[in-house]
């Protein structure tokens, strides 16, 4: 049997199409089947990706321009190839694409570990205030009001110190 499309090569692919309930059967050669691929191909991942892109009520966003770090010039694509960033500022300039990746590989996006004395800015003080607030809560629950008052004063001191440093950065 010859291919129904080109009528030249032998048919080796049997394709069944159902469009709006109308069933058509085609016997095609390899080449013609390949050429007709876009119509024939139904891929579940592509279908799902299409669903994810579909955002009712919002306009379709234009693809973003190539993002580069303004400090060292590294693009996200370059990072993608090597797995290495170019400089500390890449974290800032490539944040829109890097942060989701970091959340995916690290399961978190907020540092909870050590804060360096000099480079840590007021984060050390903020951490201390957080810790004291939890302590204050506990003391109030235990009706240890005298100690709670002391802790409250300490929190005020620290908050004033933050204020003097130019607030919450």
């Amino acid at each position: 049997m010859l291919c129904e499309r080109c009528q030249e090569r032998p048919a080796s692919v049997h394709v069944t199409r159902i469009i709006n309930g109308d069933k058509t059967e085609l016997y095609l050669c390899q080449e013609c089947a390949r050429e007709m691929q876009p119509q024939l191909d139904f891929s579940i991942p592509k279908f799902l990706a299409g669903l994810l892109d579909y955002d009712p009520g919002l306009e379709v966003k234009a693809p973003p321009a190539v993002e580069r770090c303004r400090e060292c010039g590294l693009s996200y694509e370059q990072f993608h190839q090597t797995g290495r960033l170019g400089c500390p500022d890449c974290y800032h300039y490539l944040a829109s694409r890097l942060d989701p990746l970091i959340r995916r590989i690290q399961g978190s996006s907020q540092h909870r570990g050590k804060v360096p004395r000099r480079a840590g800015g007021n984060l050390r003080v903020r951490r201390e205030i957080e810790r004291l607030r939890a302590q204050l809560q506990q003391l109030v629950e235990q009706e240890e009001f005298e100690k709670a008052a002391q802790v409250r004063d300490r929190i005020r001191d620290l908050e004033n110190r933050l204020g003097e440093q130019g607030g919450w950065q």
């Binding site: 060292c72 590294l74 090597t82 797995g83 290495r84 960033l85 170019g86 400089c87 500390p88 974290y91 800032h92 890097l98 990746l101 970091i102 590989i105 690290q106 399961g107 978190s108 996006s109 907020q110 540092h111 909870r112 570990g113 050590k114 804060v115 360096p116 004395r117 000099r118 480079a119 840590g120 800015g121 984060l123 950065q169």
Partner: protein, 350 residues
């Protein structure tokens, strides 16, 4: 040259908590300098600048007070064999030893502290101690890090923590790892299953020389996968707990072997000792396997009169670069196998 390559490292001591299974504990902190590209994008002048800054920082009085004297050695001044010895002693990574460009290593005399300069990050501060001493290693690394931070401006972000060349290290920059000897889990064919389970609790498993290496001589390295969103203490507590659990599992397997296959076990240990004390040709692969059997014999008190310190020393001394260094010349693989056998005989004979 101030380096003493033949010296034994602190981690080889072979004593401490869980020393019958845990060989060593390591803490590694990744740190980078502000306003400088990461090593993969640095030019030579920038590489030299980082080395100079680190060299100055380690001479600061505060650093000396915190952790004692540290010495910097540029890799350019070392021969390939000398660099390889540092890899064999677990003081630097193969990447630092082989990489192009200006690189350096900072060492403390007992080799418990080493800092790789211009590896993947500007600084990779490592503390390596024997047995299960992760908390002690962390305290040492933390003190060294504090003292260095007084001298160097580290790249730090309030949200993302310490910024690193690879986002898999961002946050704490901490990789805590332990090296374990797990022959009974391998012999009873449980190793694969047990180690696969570790990946589900955020622990990665590697071979003897770190990333991408095989587990020769039944020695495995386990380390934390996640560096962001948890405190250093949480990461270290978790890895310590997993290490203890793994050691318990290995101990159970050893007792099972002792109960069910006592003669086979003692025969295996005895034969390994026999070959090591009599062989005239030993490949490093064969030597590592036999040393694992002998180590098991020592750890289970089947073999007496030997200690783990000697086994740890042997494990390093049978490596190709170390052999060539002590021989004072380059050798063919066959010459090395002959020298390796002679060296093992001599050391085991005491």
């Amino acid at each position: 040259m101030s380096l003493n390559l033949e010296r034994n490292s602190k981690w080889m001591e072979g004593s401490g908590p869980q020393a019958d299974i845990v060989i060593s504990s390591r803490i590694r902190l990744a740190r980078n300098l502000k306003g400088m590209p990461f090593p993969n994008l640095m030019n030579e002048a920038q590489e030299v600048k980082v080395i100079r800054q680190v060299g100055q920082a380690i001479r600061a009085p505060g650093v000396f007070q915190a952790v004692g004297e540290l010495r910097l050695q540029t890799l350019r001044e070392l021969s390939p064999v000398e660099r390889q010895i540092l890899v064999e002693k677990h003081l630097i990574s193969p990447d630092l030893a082989e990489g192009k460009g200006e690189k350096a290593v900072v060492l403390r005399d007992d080799e418990a502290i080493s800092i790789m300069v211009n590896e993947e990050d500007h600084l990779r501060l490592q503390c390596l101690l024997p047995a299960l001493m992760l908390h002690e290693a962390w305290r040492l690394a933390d003190a060294a890090d504090d003292a260095l931070e007084n001298e160097l401006d580290f790249a730090f972000d309030q949200e993302r923590g310490y910024l690193t060349a690879c986002p898999t290290n961002v946050g704490t920059g901490l990789r805590a790892s332990t090296m374990l000897h797990l022959p009974a889990l391998v012999l009873t064919k449980q190793a694969g299953q047990v180690l696969t389970a570790l990946t589900k609790v955020g622990v990665a498993v590697r071979g003897l020389y770190g990333e991408g290496t095989e587990a020769h001589g039944n020695i495995f390295q386990i380390s934390n996968q996640i560096t962001l969103g948890r405190s250093e203490e949480e990461i270290i507590n978790n890895l310590s707990a997993v290490t203890v659990r793994l050691a318990d599992q290995e101990r159970e397997a050893r007792e099972l072997l002792r109960k069910q296959n006592r003669w086979q076990l003692e025969d295996r240990v005895g034969r390994a000792y026999g070959v090591l004390t009599n062989a005239r040709i030993l490949t490093s692969q064969e030597a590592l396997q036999l040393l694992s059997d002998v180590r098991l014999g020592v750890e289970m008190k089947i073999l007496r009169g030997l200690d783990q310190r000697l086994i740890n020393q042997l494990m390093v001394r049978i490596q190709p670069a170390y052999l060539q260094f002590t021989a004072g010349k380059e050798m063919t693989p066959f010459e090395r196998d002959v020298r390796r056998a002679a060296m093992v005989r001599e050391l085991l004979a005491g």
